[in-house]
C-alpha cells in the first residue's frame, strides 16, 4: 500500500507492466530521459532502458502507427501522446487500423496497444492543452476508452488496459494528476474495464460522471446530502464499452439523472448516457435529465478558463432543479 497521486499511480502501473511482461514497450515524445512532461514515466527509462522506454521523434501519426505494427507482432506498446490536443494525427491510425485490425483479418492479427494521453482543462496551460474530446473515441467501434478518476482506478484500469488484447485509449485528467492522494495497493491487481464504479450510494438522484469532473460530482453530492438530497455518484470509468446497466439500474431506482462532464455539451458522451436512459428507463424518470457540461465553445485561454469548466455549484443547481420537478 502506498499513498500516491494519480500520476504516481500511472507510473506505478507502467512500471509494474514493464516488469511483468517483456512485451510491454513505452513510446512517445519525452517519455525517456525527461520522464514525460507530467513525469508519468519518470525513472522508467533509467530502470528499463531505452529499448523499452523510447523517446520518439515529434510524429504523432508515426507513434500510433508504429504501435499498431508492434502490437500486430504481439508486443504491448503503451504509446503516449503528450496532450490530447495533439492526438488528431494519431486518430487515423486508431480509427482506421488499430480498431479494425482484428476484425479486418478475422482474428488473425490483433492490436493489443494502449494509447495514453493527458487531457482536460483547469491547469492554466497554453492553447490545445485543455481539450476533452473523449466523445470522438467513444464513437469508434473496435476501440476501448478508459478515463480514471482516482489514483486507485488509474492504477488498476491502466494495468487492465495494458493486459487487454484489444486497443485501449486511456485519457488521464491532468487537473487531478496531483490533486489528491489515495492508498493504493501496488500489487498488480487490475480493475475490470467496461464496469462503472458507484462511488456513493443514494436514492434520490443519479449523478453520472467521469474523469476529473468526478471530484465536482462527489463534492456536489456531499453538499446536497446536507440538504437532504441523497445522490448516487457513478463514475463511468470506461466509456467504450460503457456500463449502461449500472446507470439504468440506478436511474430506475432514483428516477432522476444529472450527467456531468467537462467536454462541451453538444455531441459529448453525456448525450449517449441521456439517450440510453430516454430509450430504456423513460418510465422511471420523474424529472428531465440534466447535463452539466462545458459550453459549446473552444476552451478559452487561461484568463477565461473558469467560465468553461463546470463548477460544483452548477451541479448542485441542476440537482436541485431536478429534485423540485413537478
Amino acid at each position: 500500500m502506498a499513498e500516491i497521486t494519480l500520476v504516481e499511480a500511472v507510473r506505478a502501473a507502467l512500471a509494474h507492466a514493464l516488469e511483468e511482461d517483456p512485451a510491454v514497450v513505452i513510446l512517445g515524445e519525452d517519455v525517456g530521459t525527461d520522464g514525460g512532461v507530467f513525469r508519468a514515466t519518470e525513472g522508467l527509462w533509467q530502470r528499463f532502458g531505452s529499448a523499452r522506454v523510447r523517446d520518439t521523434p515529434l510524429s504523432e501519426a508515426a507513434i500510433a502507427g508504429v504501435a499498431v505494427g508492434l502490437a500486430a507482432q504481439g508486443f504491448r506498446p503503451v504509446a503516449e501522446i503528450q496532450f490530447q490536443g495533439f492526438i488528431h494525427p494519431a486518430l487515423d491510425q486508431l480509427a482506421n487500423h488499430a480498431a479494425r485490425l482484428r476484425n479486418r483479418t478475422r482474428g488473425r492479427l490483433g492490436c493489443p496497444m494502449v494509447l495514453r494521453a493527458p487531457f482536460g482543462a483547469g491547469v492554466h496551460a497554453p492553447e490545445h492543452h485543455s481539450e476533452s474530446i473523449e466523445a470522438i473515441f467513444a464513437h469508434i467501434p473496435g476501440l476501448k476508452l478508459v478515463i480514471p478518476s482516482s489514483p486507485a482506478r488509474a492504477y488498476g484500469l491502466l494495468l487492465a488496459a495494458i493486459r487487454d488484447p484489444d486497443p485501449v485509449v486511456f485519457f488521464e485528467p491532468t487537473r487531478i494528476y496531483r490533486a489528491g492522494r489515495e492508498e493504493v495497493a501496488l500489487d498488480g491487481a487490475s480493475l475490470p474495464l467496461g464496469r462503472a464504479f458507484t462511488l456513493r450510494a443514494g436514492g434520490d438522484l443519479t449523478l453520472v460522471s467521469w474523469g476529473a469532473a468526478v471530484r465536482e460530482a462527489l463534492a456536489a453530492a456531499e453538499a446536497l446530502s446536507g440538504e437532504g438530497i441523497e445522490v448516487e455518484v457513478i463514475d463511468l470509468a470506461t466509456l467504450r464499452p460503457w456500463d449502461a446497466e449500472a446507470v439504468l439500474g440506478s436511474v430506475r431506482r432514483t428516477g432522476r439523472c444529472v450527467i456531468l462532464h467537462e467536454a462541451p455539451r453538444t455531441g459529448g458522451f453525456g448525450a449517449e448516457v441521456a439517450a440510453r436512459i430516454a430509450e430504456e428507463a423513460l418510465d422511471s424518470l420523474l424529472a428531465p435529465i440534466r447535463r452539466v457540461t462545458a459550453p459549446d465553445i473552444v476552451p478559452p485561454l487561461l484568463r477565461l478558463e473558469h467560465l468553461y469548466l463546470p463548477q460544483v455549484d452548477d451541479v448542485i443547481a441542476a440537482a436541485r432543479e431536478v429534485m423540485q420537478w413537478r
Binding site: A61, A62, A67, A72, Q73, R106, G107, R108, P141
Partner: protein, 362 residues
C-alpha cells in the same frame, strides 16, 4: 579576404542512383547478378509474373460479371511485386498497399483469399498459410508506420527479419510516409520501403505529385539510403530490394527504393483512365512492360521454348481456374461474423446484437 573561408561551404552531398539490368527488349545492359544467371530462378520469377497477370485478368473478369467488388489491376507492374517478394526471405514480413497481389501470392497468400477480399469478404484477409503478413491497406500511406512498428518488433527481439512496405507514387506525398521513414531512420530499423512509381495516382500524374526529380530522394529527408531502379525489370527490382534487405539484416537500417513502372490499366475497375490520360501514351508504355522483357531474355539467354511457354500458361490457367472455383464455392459467412471479431471478447451490448444475428446467413 582571399585567405578567409568563403561564406558557403558544402556540408552534405547526395547522389541518387538508378539500377537497371535488362533493356526493354530484354537485352542485358550490364553483368547480371548471380541469381539472374540461374535459369530456374528466372523462370520462377517469370512464372510468378505471369500468374499475377492471370490472376489480375481473372479478377477484372469477375468484377465485370458482378462477382467481385472494385478491383485495382496491377497490369504492367508485376515486376515490382514479384521482384520484391522474390528478394524477401519467408521470415520477412510484407506490409502491402493494395496493388501487390503478385507479391502476396508469392508469399503464400492464396488466390482464392485475394478473390474473397476483393469480393467483399473479410475472410480473405485471414490468410491460411501466411499468418504474419499484413492485409491489404486501403488508406494510402498508412501502411508505412506499420512496417516501422513491425521492424521495431524484429529489432527488439533480435530477429533476423525485415519488414517490407510497398506503396505507390501518390503515397509518398502523405505525411505518414515521411514520418515512418524518419522514425525508421533514426532507430535504424530493419525495414525496406518500396515505392511502386507507376506514374499515376488515379488521375494525378507523377509530376503533379511532387517537384522531386526522383521519389527515391525522399529518403534523403530521413537520412537513409535510397535507390531508384527500373521497375519493369524484375532483375533490377530483386537486386535492389535484396541489397536493401542485406543492409537491414546487417543492422544498417532502412532503405527506400523507387521502382519506375507504369500503370497500364485503369486505376481500378471503377475508373476510366481515358478521361484523363492519353491512350497513345499508354500504348507506348507497352513496349517497356516487364513480362515480355523477361521472356525475351529467357528466350535469348536460356533457350526458353514455345513449348515451355505453353506449359507454363496451361499450368497457370489451371491454378487460376481452381482458385476461382474455390472462391465461388466459398459458403457465405454467418451473419454473426460482423460482431465476432471486433474484440477478443464480446462486450455485453454486442452480445445482444449477436444473439439477434445467430443462425442467419450473411
Amino acid at each position: 579576404m582571399q585567405d578567409r573561408p568563403a561564406a558557403e561551404e558544402i556540408v552534405a552531398r547526395f547522389e541518387i542512383a538508378r539500377t537497371a539490368f535488362l533493356d526493354p527488349d530484354g537485352t542485358p545492359r550490364a553483368p547480371l547478378p548471380d541469381f539472374a544467371r540461374d535459369r530456374g530462378s528466372l523462370v520462377a520469377m517469370y512464372r510468378a509474373m505471369l500468374l499475377a497477370r492471370a490472376f489480375d485478368a481473372r479478377a477484372v473478369a469477375l468484377q465485370r460479371t458482378g462477382r467481385l467488388g472494385t478491383y485495382p489491376s496491377a497490369l504492367g507492374q508485376e515486376a515490382v511485386a514479384v521482384g520484391t517478394a522474390a528478394a524477401m526471405a519467408p521470415g520477412d514480413l510484407l506490409v502491402p498497399s493494395f496493388r501487390e497481389h503478385g507479391a502476396q501470392i508469392m508469399r503464400g497468400v492464396r488466390m482464392e483469399e485475394l478473390f474473397l477480399y476483393w469480393g467483399g469478404d473479410e475472410r480473405g484477409s485471414d490468410f491460411r498459410d501466411q499468418r504474419e503478413d499484413f492485409p491489404v491497406c486501403v488508406p494510402v500511406g498508412t501502411q508505412y508506420p506499420h512496417a516501422a512498428g513491425v521492424a521495431l518488433a524484429f529489432q527488439l527481439r533480435g530477429e533476423d527479419r525485415v519488414a517490407v512496405a510497398v506503396g505507390g507514387d501518390g503515397s509518398t506525398s502523405r505525411g505518414d510516409f515521411a514520418e515512418a521513414l524518419n522514425i525508421a531512420g533514426v532507430w535504424k530499423l530493419p525495414a525496406v520501403f518500396v515505392v511502386a512509381n507507376n506514374g499515376w495516382a488515379i488521375s494525378v500524374p507523377r509530376e503533379a505529385q511532387s517537384a522531386a526529380q526522383t521519389l527515391a530522394q525522399k529518403a534523403v529527408a530521413a537520412g537513409i539510403p535510397e535507390q531508384q531502379c527500373d521497375g519493369n525489370d524484375v532483375i533490377a527490382v530483386r537486386a535492389t530490394v535484396a541489397a536493401a534487405l542485406a543492409r537491414a539484416r546487417a543492422g544498417q537500417g532502412p532503405s527506400l527504393i523507387e521502382c519506375l513502372t507504369y500503370r497500364l490499366a485503369d486505376h481500378t475497375t471503377a475508373d476510366d483512365a481515358s478521361r484523363y490520360r492519353d491512350d497513345a501514351a499508354v500504348s507506348a508504355r507497352w513496349a517497356e512492360e516487364p513480362v515480355r522483357r523477361l521472356r525475351a531474355h529467357l528466350a535469348r539467354a536460356h533457350g526458353w521454348s514455345a513449348a515451355e511457354e505453353e506449359a507454363l500458361h496451361a499450368g497457370i490457367a489451371a491454378e487460376v481456374d481452381a482458385a476461382t472455383e474455390a472462391y465461388l464455392a466459398t459458403p457465405p459467412q454467418p451473419a454473426t461474423a460482423i460482431v465476432d471479431y471486433l474484440y477478443a471478447a464480446l462486450p455485453p451490448d454486442l452480445a445482444r446484437l449477436r444473439a439477434r444475428l445467430e443462425g442467419q446467413d450473411g
